[in-house]
Amino acid sequence: MVAARQALHEGTRPSGVITRHDIHGDLVVDADVLVIGSGAGGATVAAELAEAGYDVVVLEEGSYYQTRDFTADTSGMVRQLYRDGGATMALGNPPILYQEGRAVGGSTVINGGMSWRTPDKILARWEKEAGLHGIAKDLEAHFARVERRINVAPMDAEAIGTDNHLLKQGADALGWNIIGNLRNQNHCVGSNRCAFGCPTGAKQSSLVSYIPRALHYGARIFADVKVKRIMRHGKRATGAIGTVNGTPHHVTVRAKLVCLSAGAIHTPALLARSGFRTPSGQLGHNLSMHPNVKVVAIFDQPVTNWKGAHQAFQVREFQDQGLVFAAIGMPPSVLAMSFPHRGRQLGELMSRYDNMMLAGMLCEDTRTGRVRSVNGKPQAFYQLADEDAANLKRGVSLLSELLFAAGAKQILLPFHGAKDLHSADDARALLKANTPTRGWEVVTVHMMGTARMGADRSAAVTDAHGMVHDADRLMIADASLFPTPIGVNPMETIMALATRGAAHVIDNARRLLS
């Protein structure tokens, strides 16, 4: 059993974490279980199966960082922790900028820590539409277990910053439903650096929860190893081959069971390039994105949006209509980048940075896109549906109304060429304005559904537990599994599904792990 302490206090790298510096030639490793990817899904499966006594190996393309590596250097953190420096794009009109983590801990290292169970209405839909009978009841214990592990809790009041107080003030003034966010944190102190790696160790990302746990129970984690192909013998997955970043070396892992947790963009691509075909033909289809737009509000008083807990509240008034609003603090460089202004005008605008507040929304989308392989690399295609675009525009109008109710004096829109708003009347009038979607700035951090689970093998890629239909000893545990978008932040759902998948493996060990 390997001892692993919390990343925050690690003077050195814990044993059990192997990086490119440790690998000086080709390696062949044997394991009971190979997990590909160490994010929300992969780290959870790895910890659960390691604790159950299995020999678990994780291959992760990103590097291993510790809490002390997370500094105030914003763009340095983005280059290290985000795939392609955060510049990944789903093609469509408008194109959608999406972001994924690439590090041990996956996207949980850079996420906001919002931790919500799957809404009941979504689970009911999954039961009905995907034939996942009993999943709502089944997941209850797994949600509770995940919440314990990653310490899902309300925020300490004193960590909440001015931007979030303003959001609440605006919602209260309009009588709208606003709730405190539940987040996976242990005394978050409001450094507002969640998106760049939590520098205090408060956020209980997989990096400081499931990963140390997996190591503690004997798992080995190979960082800096990009899996090129899953090995198979007929329909049976037998392991995987990866390359060590920046070296000519290969790592081959032979395993009794392969769990694919590379996220909703890479999981379908890796399956496809490894020659797995599923009877449904749905691999890579069904991509949901929770498209997201943001506005910048300028107040007379200082907001100092970079101090205070990340997204302490969520406006849930319009959740039934697929819209959730939140305030998001961001460094000046990120805001400057989002403005069309330049030169002297940019300087004048940015001189009011301290008075700015950034707020955005996620939209439960109604249309799906697709991940295809282009020159061996995954490429996402996603066309924003007209009704989702209308919903987002309505969301911008409503959110702007809220911000004016909170005292905003000016609002900058995410629609290219649109005039700034100066009053609630302007916000309402926006609904009638012509704002062609090709000039919209749409972003997302929630990609889901590209290997959806379901009872019907002719419609789904995996069964109800994530076992790939028409393949043997191959499971998926990540955001790809979602049959539909869920309308709230997805991390906790992914972790609960991964826990459920791990329980299924343990219950069927004789068949899956002999």
Binding site: A4, H21, E48, E51, A52, Y54, S63, T71, A72, T74, S75, G76, R79, Q80, Y82, D84, G85, A87, R145, R148, R149, H187, V189, S191, R193, T200, G201, P212, R213, H216, N245, G246, K256, T304, W306, K307, P331, P332, S333, V334, A336, M337, S338, F339, P340, R342, G343, L346, G347, E348, M350, Y353, D354, A502, A503, I506, D507, A509, R510, L513
Partner: protein
């Protein structure tokens, strides 16, 4: 050795000169003394982006540079301040969506790098380093017991299934 891509990308001399000439157009005047730092920072950002984007930026900048010749008889890099402004505007509201997108992309990349400079962050009152130090120390001081409890919880036995694995 982290940030592999960072080390493999470097601006070509031509790219560097064209970008340097765009600082006066895109960044606020107060950024002029740090133009070289801004351009150097852009290399890091471009280096971390997908290879296809790196190529597009290189090709786009060459086209931008040479595209000034028919109108001004000189390259974009050699235009006067007023000419440089007018030429950029002609791309910003450009002939084709490609011109517009390219101008926007360069604006985004350069604005990001501009406000990543200590001088510019300081000018807008953004001082995250001391703030992080302050709250990190506070957390460990005020909540030490809870922090330790959570760390212990992360490693404490809590088997998902009571029985021993069948396969072992």
């Amino acid at each position: 050795m982290r940030g592999m891509k960072e080390m493999t990308y470097q601006h070509s001399e031509s790219t560097r000169i064209v970008l340097r000439s765009l600082v006066r157009v895109i960044c606020p005047p107060e950024a002029a003394p740090i133009a070289d730092d801004i351009v150097a920072h852009m290399a890091l950002t471009i280096g971390a982006s997908p290879a296809v984007l790196q190529k597009l930026i290189g090709t786009g900048l060459t086209t931008y540079d040479l595209g000034a010749l028919p109108r001004y008889g000189k390259r974009a890099r050699s235009l006067s301040d007023a000419q440089a402004e007018a030429y950029y505007v002609s791309w910003e509201h450009g002939l084709t969506p490609l011109h517009v997108q390219f101008a926007r992309a360069i604006n985004q990349l350069m604005s990001l790098s501009c406000y990543e400079q200590p001088l510019m962050m300081e000018a807008v009152g953004f001082r995250p380093g001391p703030w992080i130090d302050e709250v990190r120390a506070k957390r460990l001081r005020v909540f030490a017991a809870d922090v330790a409890r959570q760390e212990a919880q992360v490693l404490a036995p809590d088997p998902l299934r009571p029985s021993k694995p069948e396969a072992r």
